[in-house]
Symmetry: C2
Subunit: 138 residues, 2 copies
Amino acid sequence: MAEPHDAPRDLTRNQGLVLGTLNRSSAPLSAYDILDKLREEGLRAPLQVYRALDKLVERGLAHRLESLNAFVACADAHCHRKGLIAFAICERCGRVDEFADEVIEERLSGWAANTGFKTERTTMEIRGQCAECLKAAA
Amino acid sequence: MAEPHDAPRDLTRNQGLVLGTLNRSSAPLSAYDILDKLREEGLRAPLQVYRALDKLVERGLAHRLESLNAFVACADAHCHRKGLIAFAICERCGRVDEFADEVIEERLSGWAANTGFKTERTTMEIRGQCAECLKAAA
DNA sequence: CGTTGCAGCGTTATGCTATAACGTGTAGAG
DNA sequence: CTCTACACGTTATAGCATAACGCTGCAACG
Ligand SMILES: [Zn+2]
Ligand SMILES: [Zn+2]
Ligand SMILES: [Zn+2]
Ligand SMILES: [Zn+2]
């Protein structure tokens, strides 16, 4: 199973461990989930994970899902070049799809222009059930 | 100062207290913020606030802001009739604007239809600075 | 009427998420 | 070399949320 994109070479040890853990997971992980999976590697404190996550998120290699207080590896090597990303989160299997939509982005920037709001960051998260889980439940 | 909309008469005491507190606040409040403001009224435990908030959110009288772990009173008497609500949150003054956009809603439901995803709930939150704060900072 | 079911309430205890504050080690710039 | 920046490791603490218990009040039903 190939990872979504090659891990940059300049990650620190902790950052690499955390990103690897996220890449191997099929569902979002909380910082404490990650910590538990990395105890064998010597990590002991939440801060070690949070610090790594901060950097990964900053670089667009991982994303924070606000509605779950959890994190996923970025699924798309180039997503960080796009402005706005939406996440569709399956509440049954945990699968997360990320996608960008220019029309939505235009609507939001239009609203911001009209109201004089300066956007720093946008989160868009759809919760529900993915196609596979719907089929399985039927 | 009128409240955004008349409080329904059938709220319980705790629900009324919590909604009143949210209505009087100009910025989002965490459950613990609310609790602190209601100690004089006899509230003592987080659960009393969380239970009230659950009901208020369920009825659309309040909204949870996932990116803040905080709550606001609904600003619009009829917003709960609309499907999708977006929130613009000023990080300086805490002001929250809520708005609905049919085009965005269509784009999202289009994406869902294409991928077979069944949407239960969508959160959209824009963080940044409002027009007033931008003027003030200039 | 009695009783049954439901919703809210109050309390204690606990668990999960995130950051503050401190000091160490190391690599690059001047 | 020394200064700076950055990551690291650790301990302690702050902030957000729920589990589990038992009780109360009220409406529906026979
Ligand atoms: Zn991504
Ligand atoms: Zn699924
Ligand atoms: Zn509303
Ligand atoms: Zn503002």
